[in-house]
Symmetry: C2
Subunit: 361 residues, 2 copies
Amino acid sequence: MSQRIANRLEKLRHLLAEKEIDAILISQPENRYYLSGFWGSAGSLLISQKDAILATDFRYIEQAKIQAPDFSIFRITGEVGEWFPKLIADLTLGKLGFEAGHITFELYRKLTSALSEKQSPLKLIPQEGLVESLRIIKEAEEIELIARAAAIGDKAFEHIESVIRPGMTEKQAAWEIEKFLREHDSQSASFDVIVAAGANAALPHHHPSDQPIREGESIVMDFGARVAGYTSDLTRTICLGSPDDKFKKAYDIVLGAQLAAIAIIKDGMTGKEADSLARTVIKEAGYDEYFGHGLGHGVGLQTHEAPRLSYLSSDVLKSNMVFSIEPGIYLPGWGGVRIEDLVVLEGGKVRVISQARKVAK
Amino acid sequence: MSQRIANRLEKLRHLLAEKEIDAILISQPENRYYLSGFWGSAGSLLISQKDAILATDFRYIEQAKIQAPDFSIFRITGEVGEWFPKLIADLTLGKLGFEAGHITFELYRKLTSALSEKQSPLKLIPQEGLVESLRIIKEAEEIELIARAAAIGDKAFEHIESVIRPGMTEKQAAWEIEKFLREHDSQSASFDVIVAAGANAALPHHHPSDQPIREGESIVMDFGARVAGYTSDLTRTICLGSPDDKFKKAYDIVLGAQLAAIAIIKDGMTGKEADSLARTVIKEAGYDEYFGHGLGHGVGLQTHEAPRLSYLSSDVLKSNMVFSIEPGIYLPGWGGVRIEDLVVLEGGKVRVISQARKVAK
């Protein structure tokens, strides 16, 4: 058994014992991959203190054998009402956990009715964020993969900065970035590339349009790479030609808030405390109501995962967590500024992973 | 109000009345888009006989106003336990439907506990496939968009056929296809492009590898384009150099099964009946156990949607449904053959939308 998978399963089994459940059913794709190495798009793991089973269908049996050699493979046929009772038939389980944040209400009903039909005494116990609580702390190898993804993102920014011109559309710029990522060892763009210029930059999640980019506008570019499943996330805001005072002011406030957060965030802070640091800088500058999203989010196999850095978050920041720090100011009708870096908590404080340049205006 | 959105809402409201629910909460992304025009990645619609509300957060408020002018916009702040009671406070609703196949068990619990905390008499009623039952029948404009996506896919196949060479890796070929799609007016590849050569072609959902493609192997290529949200889906299997008899035999059986299905499938058949036609051809040829997936699936805003054509499906095929017909044979260790076209049911029978060539071997 691979040491990496063995360690993860051991940690999960400790959690199962703590939660007093006999086994857990895992189908959230990144959790499934994290625990088994299986990359297919459909399948469930059933993990107990002694079993590690991967249930998947015809399409993925061969792949499952190769990617998840530490798991025994169960072939799914028919509807869940048929295969689920077969999967658990020979295991002596009293309480089976399931991923409440992933399993739909409909699937939950199918599982429970399959059990009651077979008069099974098995109880389904909802679990929230069990595997996520392992994934939130990154292993050295995971940090290395995220750093490789971030380095590709840095180069992509350097590339787009060198080729972007007035008259190029948002879509064209976004495609330039994506092509660069893909042609420089990124498996994919880790999410749809955002290029938002002028008034569009006031929309934090704008979808690139056919609008030509003009001189003097704020241009928000937000994108990430993916290496061996691990993602990166980077935002830079630039301006072609000479930025006006409005841009300079907004830019420097956001940059100041970001640098302050990077300098001050440390081990043991809550996500809410981290967020409020940057938020205070923006508030003091009079832009409070224009920073409507959280300060950041964890990054790993998913581009958005735990921890959350926001005014709602009680997540406690700890060593080897990787997350983004991305304050922004959005002025409807005018545009916006967002600056985002990827960081890791090490030795009690923040180390910045992404290296793309950001120059005070 | 746009006529298209008005028509769809009217149909949905008929269904609400039929199901005896006062309103429905819609958050499945394609359903949300279909009913509102809103393309953002987060938000919920609340639709009653008189209300049409789009609830979304800060990031998408501006976009929501533009894309969903027929909806009133409700700004989400805080956790669901806070905003959900506010959203429904002024509506007089007794029974609220929700998408049981989309809402997670965890969210369901949060919604119900928010209601009980406020001592609300509102009841949550699980609904399955309500909006999907509208989306399954395509409007003329939707068929036109799917046909445009399919035409881009056809051209991409023509392109890859002209440039693919022995020694090119699966990944390189997949990227050639994706670049072509994206540079010819496809918003994205509608799913990760599959290029699977040699033994990899025995894995129906193989992820392209660095393995070089060799002469004489079967090469399965499966990909789709996306136009204004609507997807296409096309599979062709080719062989560089001279195919051997094993390839020719498998290829012609699959092609025969596919052509038979196209000729015979008609209005009123079930998904199971349609599937069994092609399956019989493959079975008679002695390859029964090597065709492990269903014959096809609906295509629209999602690449996989209703109806299903499989031995498990009781879906009844009707006019203006668009779906794939894609039998395959997969021989572990050797390779595979799959041939897939996109079709629409018109005037009682199948019209083939995709036009990429497929030559008997």
